[in-house]
């Protein structure tokens, strides 16, 4: 009815313009703190049963891993994270499988103890806006026989008054395989490469004031040398090089549920994963964790993981006949198995730093003679300032 008076109209328009030009308060910006984290992990694979080993050591890998992460603000809305990892490994690894006198699969281990090291470095640059953020990542991993360069770019949009988050990302790597002792073992690959490209889309939603649920869908493609340079296959009495297709297409889906239980002052994590590839391997994972707060600065986290996968279409522990497609692999990683791991983490926060200790026991069961079990001990410490 009433038209807006000229002065009111003019000043309202100017005020509206001013409000649109005002910097909006950041909802959850980078915290403007520098943080330093360090973690030491000892990973030790369980010995194989002597009855399942035809030749070589029953002892397997032991790996010592040092990780550091340093995060530092660059400007009010950007931060840089450097992460480094150094690991030394020693032990014997499964080489090939052959049938014993009873026709049962038995493992031949590598003869010499392998001593190797791997170094990894990564850099993440995160840039933050009120409604969105993005991260650019680069990484390098180097071993004497394997080099990998990786990149990633991912982002998030916060929608619906920050109760929904849409995330996406692309990442890939270029890997170079140059097996050691290729002159001693004809057939071992040199100067092979592998390319990986992947992408994911995720959505998470604040369901209630105590519940956050997210789903992620990912696809990836690998092209190039996808065999294991150090593994062999027994084919009707002949020992030949592990040989897999040169491409692999993967899809994965994950559901992550976080539920805070106020009565217990604890949080329940339920992670369910599904994976499938065009080598006919599919897998399911269920991971449950209970984050129990005790007093104000202790936390105890028991957790349990169950994993199950089907075998690759061309996998056999050993081959009595040639395969028409020429693919052979007796790698336990491509066999059908299920694995259970149990973990316990104890964490304590102090005024200026935190300390936590983690133990994990993993044990796989299936038909392959060299299925894995390991114990993992890990100590984390960190601070920010």
């Amino acid at each position: 009815m009433q038209e807006k008076k000229p002065a009111l109209a003019a000043l309202s328009t100017a005020a509206m313009l001013l409000n649109s030009l005002a910097p909006v308060a950041n909802a959850n910006p980078p915290d403007q703190k520098t943080s330093v984290d360090y973690r030491y992990t000892n990973y030790k694979e369980g010995a194989l049963e002597p009855s399942k080993v035809a030749e070589g050591s029953t002892e397997r890998y032991t790996i010592d891993i040092h990780q550091v992460k340093v995060k530092t603000p660059v400007a009010g809305d950007t931060e840089l994270t450097f992460s480094g990892q150094f690991e030394t490994l020693s032990g014997a690894s499964p080489w090939y499988v052959l049938p014993n006198a009873d026709g049962e699969a038995v493992q031949v281990m590598t003869g010499a103890t392998i001593d190797e090291s791997r170094a990894e470095a990564g850099l993440d640059f995160r840039s933050y806006n009120e409604r969105s953020e993005s991260t650019l990542s680069v990484s390098y991993s180097g071993e004497n026989d394997y080099t990998s360069f990786g990149f990633g770019y991912g982002g998030q949009w916060r929608l619906n008054k920050n109760t929904s988050t849409l995330s996406w990302g692309l990442n890939g790597s270029k890997d170079y395989v140059d097996a050691t002792d290729a002159e001693l073992y004809p057939g071992r690959p040199t100067e092979e490469t592998k390319n990986r490209l992947g992408g994911y889309l995720g959505f998470s939603q604040v369901m209630t004031k105590n519940r956050l649920v997210g789903i992620t869908l990912g696809v990836s493609n690998l092209e190039g040398y996808l065999s294991d340079p150090y593994k062999l296959a027994w084919v009707a009495g002949d020992i030949i090089q592990d040989s897999r297709p040169t491409s692999q297409n993967n899809v994965n889906a994950a559901l992550r549920w976080r539920e805070f239980v106020p009565a217990a002052n604890a949080a329940l994590h339920v992670d369910i994963g599904y994976y499938s590839n065009d080598w006919e391997i599919s897998s399911g994972t269920v991971d449950l964790a209970w984050y129990q707060n005790i007093a104000s600065n202790w936390q105890v986290v028991p957790s349990l993981r169950y994993y199950n996968q089907s075998a690759a279409v061309f996998y056999q522990p050993f081959y009595n006949q040639d395969r028409a497609d020429g693919f052979y692999s007796s790698d336990y990683r491509l066999s059908e198995f299920s694995a259970v791991s149990a973990r316990l983490k104890v964490a304590r926060t102090f005024d200026r730093f935190y300390l936590n200790f983690l133990y994990e026991n993993y044990s796989a069961s299936g038909d392959h003679p060299a299925l894995l079990s390991f114990d993992l001990l890990s100590l984390g410490i960190g601070t920010d300032f």
């Binding site: 984290d37 973690r39 891993i65 990780q67 992460k69 992460s83 690894s93 990564g122 991260t135 990542s137 990484s139 390098y140 991993s141 026989d145 394997y146 990998s148 360069f149 990786g150 990149f151 619906n160 008054k161 109760t163 990302g169 990442n171 790597s173 395989v177 990986r196 992947g198 994911y200 604040v206 369901m207 209630t208 004031k209 105590n210 956050l212 997210g214 789903i215 990912g218 294991d228 692999q248 993967n250 994965n252 889906a253 559901l255 549920w257 976080r258 805070f260 369910i272 994976y275 391997i281 984050y291 707060n293 994993y307 996968q309 690759a312 990683r333 936590n356 983690l358 993993y362 984390g380």
Partner: protein, 69 residues
């Protein structure tokens, strides 16, 4: 499996997807409610699973690989 995931998500929502106010999100902001409360721990465990199991899942970050014998 995908249908199961979808059903679980619907079930999660059925209990009420009312708009949660900013000041009601205190519990959600706790460290233990993060998807990944300890990134270094997740990194090392995922690295182990990735190198000892067949699954090749895609997540955030750079996609660097390893020899992983």
């Amino acid at each position: 499996m995908k249908k199961v995931l979808l059903l679980i998500l619907l079930a999660a929502c059925a209990q009420g997807c009312s708009q949660v106010k900013a000041w009601e999100r205190g519990n959600l902001a706790k460290a233990e409610m993060a998807f990944s409360p300890d990134p270094l721990e997740d990194k090392i465990r995922n690295h182990v699973y990735h190198s000892k199991e067949a699954s090749q899942t895609v997540g955030a970050g750079a996609g660097g690989g390893c020899g992983c014998n």
